[in-house]
């Protein structure tokens, strides 16, 4: 099984040299720590920054320089600041190559629910709907099952949707899966120590298993 760091580390392998990447709140932010050496990546922060850098050292926090999760950050050489309309403009116009975000549920045709639990959590969708509606490359970092052991990879989402037919790849504590254009989750890799059987039991949606499924390389 993978922990949060493990999921982030695996997702980081999908990042290519020269990519502009948007990282959502939660596990996705950890991906920044695992970007492979020798490749150049520019992180986009939807509140108006390209070139997001690491957290500042103690005493160097700048209240005017934060990320989309409202955390203090720094900027890297070659950064650019712009307003919120341009930020979502570049997202909508597909200049951002890869979006990585969390999910509560994903359906077998790539629908995603990650913003609302009616009556309980109604904080708002922030930039999530814009990101999933526009990005060509969307990778979801999520838990395969909830605390009650119920699958979160479903035939249909039960929670209010963030977007439809948009998720391409999912990395969970158990597996790496693709979402097929015609519907269905295709199992690509097993997490260390996890069996195909375990993954089958944890996946309520249609699951395609072809041939020998390799264990993740960690």
């Amino acid at each position: 099984m993978l922990d949060k760091e493990g999921i982030a580390k695996r997702i980081a392998k999908e990042i290519k040299d020269g990519y502009y990447v948007n990282l959502g709140i939660g596990i996705p932010t950890l991906v920044a720590n695992y970007i492979p050496d020798g490749i150049n990546v520019v992180l986009q922060s939807e509140n108006g920054l390209l070139g997001m850098g690491p957290f500042p050292f103690e005493g160097e926090e700048d209240p005017d320089t934060i990320n989309a999760g409202k955390q203090t950050i720094t900027t890297l050489p070659g950064s650019a600041i712009f307003d919120s309309a341009m930020s979502f403009g570049m997202i909508r116009a597909k200049k951002v190559n890869l979006t990585i975000l969390g999910a509560m549920e994903v359906s077998e045709n790539g629908d995603i629910a990650n913003w609302k639990i009616p009556g309980k959590m109604v904080k708002g969708m922030g930039g999530a709907m814009d990101l999933v509606a526009s990005a060509e490359n969307i990778i979801v970092a999520m838990q395969h099952v909830n605390k009650a052991g119920e699958s979160k990879l479903l035939p249909n989402c039960t929670l209010p949707l963030t977007g439809i037919n948009c998720v391409k790849k999912i990395v969970t504590e158990l597996a790496v899966l693709d979402v097929l254009p015609d519907g269905g989750f295709k199992l690509l890799e097993r997490a260390p120590g996890v069996s195909v059987e375990e993954i089958k039991l944890a996946t309520a949606g249609k699951l395609l298993i072809e041939g020998e499924i390799p264990e993740m390389d960690t």
């Binding site: 209240p63 708002g124 922030g126 814009d130």
Partner: protein, 232 residues
């Protein structure tokens, strides 16, 4: 150019009950702190506030919510304000949660004189309810209307007496697009300078959009989440 006013109280003098206000800022960053304090002091009520977030309980729009001054919020994320969530879930406060990009672009549309924009954000979700959908090149888009706000209240880093504004770092966020969109735009700045002090090439908001400007005071610039890395 008689745009300069003395302070926030003077700047908001004609804001009345029931008006629609745009307020700049993202989280607690780039907030028009002086104007918010003045609105709290003035106790205007029944306001519709267009702002990406609702601040926290004791800072930003949260201060106005505590006094029940807000009838309706139009925001994209209100997670950091417990009082807001409570008022929302109890039905005391009308809330329209809209995608952040849609919020920004509806402000931009108003500022660019466009009545509506098309965006794919929200297609297939509850955000699409009641809205016109058009298909362009095989993809569905929602038609979203430009905002109409009585006042836009923005925060900038520097501004000159003619209303030209420059922003600093990510405190920029919604301020430029809101500055363009209000029927009346009020700008509070950390430093008010003379015409000629700002390089025309570096002006972010041309003064034509700004009706009132004043030198702000005592900025708290609260940090919502102070995150640091270790010195190895």
């Amino acid at each position: 150019m008689l745009k300069v006013v003395s302070n926030a109280d003077e700047a908001i003098r004609d804001i009345q009950d029931g008006m629609t206000l745009m307020l700049g800022g993202f989280g607690l960053c780039g907030l028009p702190e002086n104007c918010i304090a003045a609105l709290v002091k003035k106790k205007v009520t029944g306001l519709t506030c267009i702002s990406n977030n609702a601040g926290v309980d004791d800072f930003g729009i949260g201060l106005m919510l505590k006094q029940r001054q807000v009838k309706k919020m139009i925001s994209s994320y209100v997670g950091e304000n417990a009082e807001f969530e409570r008022q929302l879930l109890s039905g005391e406060l009308e809330v329209e949660l809209i995608p952040q990009g849609t919020l920004a672009t509806r402000c931009m549309a108003a500022g660019y004189g466009m009545p509506a924009i098309f965006t794919p954000a929200g297609i297939g979700t509850e955000v699409a309810e009641g809205k016109e959908v058009r298909n362009f090149n095989g993809k569905d888009y929602l038609m979203e209307m430009a905002f109409d706000a009585d006042f836009a209240i923005v925060k900038a880093w520097k501004g000159d007496r003619m209303g030209n504004l420059v922003y600093r770092s990510t405190a920029r966020n919604f301020n430029p697009v809101m500055a363009m969109a209000g029927r009346v735009t009020i700008a509070e700045v950390e430093e008010l300078v003379e015409p000629g002090d700002l390089d025309p090439d570096h002006v972010h908001t041309p003064g034509i959009y700004v009706h009132r400007i004043f030198q702000g005071v005592d900025y708290e610039k609260r940090i919502e989440q102070r995150t640091v890395r270790k010195n190895i």
